[in-house]
């Protein structure tokens, strides 16, 4: 007690906070720890995002604000040619892109996870092989497949002709009907390892007694899968859906590499990421800043909103299981 006065400042603080309670630092110490990250994050991430919201409510002439615009930029995007057409088309393509990728990726990923679950030798190699494309830059994947699918010198059509399917050797990326499905397939090729790994981990976490119990009760393999395994995979399916949704609606590099910034041929692969880039930096004209910012805000509200709804939906499904 008497010695308390002789303790140095940090010791007094330590004594005051005592065991079990967290240390109360001095402001100067706190500033050294926190300020660098706070500064970097606020200037380069938070400030631009807040500015995008702010910019979207002003009328612009080049880089000059000429007055408050209210929701005019938003109205222009939804109602003025060519944006009205391009926005909905890009949105529809993103929706198809997401639906197609999910359908292929989830079913194939789940099938491979189930087949590999009790697979013996070679399991690790197969898992590695399926996940390898996921390590490659989406931009590289896009360029690689645009070469492979080339109608003149591409190995894909050469292979199809070699096995006698000459009529299948189409200009895959040059035809407005096949271009988007091909982009979806290439995207699924790249990402299929991700749901497979997540499902494998989830399967490994299901207690063996559950399957045992289902078998004892006389359930067929399909019934056991449908009633026991699948419901227990709900959390993994939720994670895959939400992350795939966010990834697909932000897609840029893959589509840019396969079909340029206009989503060729004839805009048949145009997506929101490309449209945003074009409005902001290529063909936006004097109103580029306001309109591209409005588009950014719309994309954010949609992506964030749907992700939140989906997350809470899957949480509720999970709770029902317990």
């Amino acid at each position: 007690m008497v010695q308390a006065r002789e303790l140095s400042a940090p010791r007094r603080r330590a004594a005051r906070t005592g065991a079990g309670r967290r240390y109360v630092p001095r402001w100067r110490v706190l500033a050294v720890f926190l300020l660098p990250a706070l500064l970097l994050y606020s200037v380069f991430i938070v400030y631009p995002l807040v500015s995008a919201l702010d910019y979207s409510f002003f009328e612009w002439r080049g880089i000059r604000q000429v007055g408050f615009a209210g929701f005019d930029n938003y109205r222009d995007l939804l109602g003025i040619y060519p944006y009205d057409e391009q926005l909905w088309r890009a949105f529809a393509h993103n929706a198809l892109f997401f639906a197609g990728t999910m359908l292929i990726q989830t079913t194939v990923g789940l099938l491979f996870a189930l087949l590999l679950f009790r697979y013996g030798r070679g399991k690790r190699f197969l898992q590695g092989a399926f996940t390898t494309p996921y390590l490659v830059d989406p931009l590289v994947v896009g360029y690689l497949w645009s070469l492979l699918l080339n109608p003149m010198f591409g190995p894909v059509n050469a292979l199809l002709e070699a096995v006698g399917l000459d009529s299948w050797a189409l200009p895959w990326l040059g035809d407005t009907r096949t271009a988007l499905p091909i982009v979806v397939l290439v995207n699924a090729w790249q990402w299929v390892g991700f749901p497979m790994l997540l499902f494998s981990a989830a399967l490994a976490g299901i207690p063996a007694e559950y399957h045992e119990a289902a078998r004892v009760d006389g359930a067929s393999a399909w019934q056991a899968f449908r009633r026991v395994t699948l419901p227990l995979l709900t959390p993994a399916i939720g994670v895959v859906s939400v992350l795939t949704f966010i990834g697909n609606f932000n897609a840029f590099g893959l589509v840019y590499a396969m079909s340029g910034s206009t989503g060729s041929p004839a805009g048949s692969t145009d997506v929101l990421g490309l449209l945003f880039y074009r409005v902001a930096f290529v063909e936006g004209g004097v109103e580029a800043i306001g309109r591209s910012s409005a588009l950014a805000v719309l994309m954010f509200v949609f992506i964030f909103g749907v992700s939140m709804l989906a997350t809470s939906y899957f949480r509720r499904r999970e709770r029902k299981l317990v």
Binding site: I45, D137, W189
Partner: protein, 276 residues
């Protein structure tokens, strides 16, 4: 009897799995093989093996198409950003996890929000911000931006690790009279080292692949990162397929090397966090 009944099914499973392994790997194998063949050979036989493998295209791409410059730029920007981002986050996560001060929770939520915000949507304001700071077409500008984009994730992961360390550690050091920075540098930081390694690796991959920012913020060829350079290169060398394949291999190889070298480190980092 059972095994007999299942045999055809077994064969189908093997065929399906190994067949898909071919589908997953063959495009990458073709990429490597075709980079070793001259363009004329690729055009006459799109599916052939290299008759006499040559590294000519690699030499060409590396020097003529300035991939050596792109590579160095990517390395500088990515490593610089990962280091800076991790250092500032390691500092910031510590008080958030272990100190008691006014605004702790709010500040934590502020950093966490960055995990959910699509930061690319701030692209236009970022462009004008960089412009006003003279950081257009600058590797420093790109480094700062990349570093900032990693902060939310790093702070989130590292504060969880700091929190998992026992409270007696720093209390004992404080009683012994150690200063706060000494406690941080000598006791806390070494204990979260495995987490630091995985956090760095997880930042590295998306930054190495980032394309939209360099597309908008970089102007001159000598500043291009690999993805930005690659898009330029695909416009210029459209008919030289051998070179195109070699460029794709060069863009991909560094990550494969990194993953082969670092897989153990990632697993160690993740499990170190879980066993606590």
């Amino acid at each position: 009897m059972r095994a007999g009944r299942r045999a055809p099914g077994r064969v189908a499973v093997h065929l399906l799995l190994w067949g898909y392994a071919v589908v997953a790997l063959l495009p990458l194998v073709i990429m490597v093989l075709n980079s070793l063949r001259p363009t004329g050979e690729i055009f006459t036989a799109p599916l052939g093996l290299p008759a006499s493998p040559t590294l000519h295209s690699y030499r060409q791409v590396w020097t003529e198409a300035s991939f050596s410059t792109y590579f160095l730029n990517s390395l500088t920007v990515t490593c610089g950003a990962v280091l800076l981002g991790t250092v500032v986050s390691a500092l910031a996560a510590y008080p958030l996890a272990r100190y008691d001060f006014f605004g702790n929770r709010v500040l934590g939520a502020y950093f966490l929000a960055g995990l959910m915000l699509p930061i690319r949507l701030g692209l236009v304001p970022i462009f004008y911000l960089m412009d006003s700071m003279g950081l257009i077409d600058s590797l420093l500008g790109l480094t700062l931006l990349y570093a900032a984009s990693g902060v939310p994730f790093c702070v989130f992961v590292l504060s969880a690790f700091y929190r998992s360390l026992p409270g007696e550690l720093d209390e004992a050091a404080r009683i012994d009279g150690a200063g706060e920075f000494r406690i941080f540098g000598r006791i806390m930081l070494p204990l979260v080292r495995p987490a630091l390694a995985s956090v760095m690796l997880f930042q590295f991959v998306p930054l190495w692949h980032e394309f939209l920012y360099p597309l908008v913020l970089l102007r001159s060829d000598e500043k291009f990162t690999i993805p930005r350079g690659l898009s330029q290169f695909f416009g210029e060398y459209t008919t030289d397929w051998s070179a195109l394949f070699a460029g794709l291999v060069l863009a991909t190889a560094p990550l494969f090397v990194l993953f082969v070298l670092a897989t153990k480190q990632i697993i160690a980092g993740l499990t170190a966090g879980m066993s606590k």
